[in-house]
């Protein structure tokens, strides 16, 4: 009976703390709220002084207009194809290589691993010019393979999964080996099923990284049929003045998938960041 009364001043402090935190939280998502607000305004009420949060009515048709303004469906499909195939390839090739690095002994292993780590330090922009020339030489400019393959063999992914595999005890694999399981079987049937969180983290990083990637698609695509969402959003800028309401609608549409992925798999995402300290950077 005494306790709650004693805690009274603390409770006030707590309320204040939460109020301030909520205020800070809202302040930090104001840009996103402003995006949503702008995307729902009638086009003739975008430019008001002072700016208003709500128009005279909610203009849902902006979303349909934005969708039809460019071949947005095509951009969407392209982005999905590129992101998903990169994720699949990265998970497959990185986990295979990581298995070798984590569980096998072979000549040149440490040297090779060092080489992989070394390339993590080289900024992607170093390779962007030669990659473009390579793609031109292969005749791959403006193709899916050019969008997908450069990101599909990840040194970062190999590093992340190797670290993760090392945290999994080997006893299970040893037991399976004695029972006559092949190396591939050990990897496929024992280690991979145990590596859900690690694979999920890498998968999400790769997905979000590809979904948001801008510089490489900007360089390697030149027709609308190959463009991805970030390029599509940026296109609202160049066409005869900026159509802010449509651009904001398009941005909202582009953000939704990453938000869904994040909310579904938040746990793994956070774990992956803390595991590597890198995330998608």
């Amino acid at each position: 009976m005494e306790l709650p009364r004693k805690n009274y001043p603390f409770s006030f402090k707590k309320t204040l703390n939460y109020t301030l935190l909520t205020a800070a939280g809202i302040l930090f998502i104001v840009p996103l709220l402003w995006m949503a607000a702008t995307s729902l305004k009638p086009s003739n009420e975008i430019f008001t002084m002072p700016p208003k949060w709500f128009g005279s009515h909610v203009e849902w048709t902006n979303y349909f207009k934005a969708w039809d303004y460019f071949p947005f469906l095509r951009f969407y499909i392209n982005t999905i194809i590129v992101s998903l195939s990169t994720v699949v390839l990265v998970l497959l090739t990185s986990s295979l290589a990581a298995y070798a690095f984590a569980r096998m002994r072979f000549k040149g292993r440490d040297m090779l691993f060092l080489l992989y780590l070394g390339t993590l330090m080289i900024p992607g922009q170093v390779t962007i010019v030669p990659l473009f020339i390579l793609m031109k030489y292969l005749g791959w400019v403006d193709t899916y393979q050019a969008l997908i393959l450069p990101g599909a063999f990840s040194a970062f992914g190999t590093f992340l999964l190797r670290q993760f595999f090392l945290t999994i005890p080997v006893e299970l694999e040893e037991a399976a080996r004695i029972d006559g399981c092949s190396r591939f079987g050990l990897y496929w049937r024992i280690l991979l099923p145990l590596s859900g969180p690690g694979l999920a983290a890498l998968g999400i990083f790769t997905f979000i990284g590809q979904w948001n990637n801008f510089l490489w698609p900007l360089i390697i695509t030149n027709t609308d049929s190959m463009k991805t969402l970030p390029l599509g959003i940026a296109m609202f800028q160049s066409q005869s003045g900026t159509q802010w309401h449509l651009m904001m609608a398009a941005s909202s549409i582009a953000i939704i998938p990453t938000l869904i992925v994040f909310i579904c798999a938040q746990k793994y995402f956070i774990k992956g960041i803390t595991m590597t300290g890198m995330g998608g950077r």
Binding site: L21, F28, M104, M121, I122, V129, P130, F153, F214
Partner: protein, 315 residues
């Protein structure tokens, strides 16, 4: 491993004669298996990472126009960069300014929110999600949203300042404010990563340390300086390095919000690589700039590594 071989070799096995060649081929298989596992990744790694890296070094010694034949010019590109290209020096300084202002801001904001979120008992996940959201927004979209927020006449920011009778500047159009505006936007867009890393780091600090300190009568502020910061310093060290590396590579924001302007005030190294490579089609020159970027990142990271003894405490 040893178990495996003896068990197949045991006398219970009905056909020991067939086993002999089998064992030999098994050994061969054992030796090549690791390489088979590596193969898919290595092929891609060689083609799309190792080869371009080497090729890029070679290109940087050439005058390499996109359509014409490349011509070997030795160190000419590098010499030109530092002695004749005034714009490059400006671009380099712009990028350094961006890094020097952004990194401390990013660390302060992310550390502040990490400590704050770590102190509350309930609902920290909800707030964490809120603060983390900007990370998920494509940088292009963030840049466009902020360009709209920064709009001198109709933007929300100047509208807000207008309430207080302040006539807000032309954020992105004013040479004095343009880079600062990009930095503010970039802190917003990027601090979530470090915040999450710091929260994890804070949770790793044993509670007993704080309890012991409070018994000794230490204040919260003292605890923060004497316990939290030293204990968090290894995490912070890594976060700072990663933030520096990634901020040296700033591009999307400058490309979308200002096109490097006004007066090249927001032109950055990577933007300059893009311009030289894909607007002026000077591929060799662009490669040389890319290697200067690498050198800058490398040197800064090396210095950080050397300096860590002074402020990073390992248990």
């Amino acid at each position: 491993m040893a178990n495996y071989q003896t068990s197949t070799n045991s006398s219970i096995n009905p056909k020991p004669l067939i086993k002999k060649p089998d064992r030999k081929s098994k050994r061969i298989i054992e030796t090549i298996t690791p390489y088979l596992f590596l193969l898919p990744n290595i092929i891609g790694f060689l083609i799309f990472t190792a080869f371009p890296v080497l090729f890029s070094i070679i290109m940087s010694f050439f005058d390499w126009p996109m359509l014409d034949k490349p011509r070997f010019i030795g160190l000419e590109n590098y010499i030109h960069l530092f002695t004749k290209d005034e714009l490059f020096v400006k671009v380099l300084l712009n990028t350094v300014y961006y890094v020097v202002v952004l990194v401390p801001l990013n660390v302060i904001v992310s550390l502040g929110f990490a400590v704050w979120l770590n102190s509350i008992s309930r609902g920290s996940v909800v707030f964490r999600t809120m603060f983390f959201m900007p990370i998920l927004v494509p940088m292009v979209a963030s840049a466009l949203i902020w360009k709209w927020l920064y709009n001198p006449q109709y933007g929300l920011i100047n509208g807000f300042l207008g309430w207080f009778g302040i006539d807000g500047p032309n954020w992105l159009g004013d040479p004095k404010f343009a880079m600062l505006s990009i930095i503010i936007m970039s802190v917003w867009a990027g601090f979530g990563y470090n915040m999450v890393i710091f929260i994890a780091g804070l949770q790793g600090i044993p509670k007993t340390l704080y309890e012991a300190a409070s018994i000794d009568g230490a204040r919260k502020w003292t605890c923060f300086w004497k316990i939290t910061l030293p204990m968090l310093s290894p995490t912070m060290f890594f976060a700072v390095i990663m933030t520096i590396i990634s901020s040296f590579q700033v591009f999307d924001q400058a490309f979308i919000m200002t096109n490097g302007g006004p007066f090249n005030k927001t032109n950055t190294i990577v933007y300059y690589i893009y311009q030289n490579g894909f607007e002026f089609f000077k591929m060799g020159y662009a490669s040389a700039i890319a290697w200067v970027l690498f050198a800058a990142i490398f040197v800064v990271t090396l210095v950080q590594m050397k300096m860590q003894k002074k402020w990073v405490h390992y248990e």
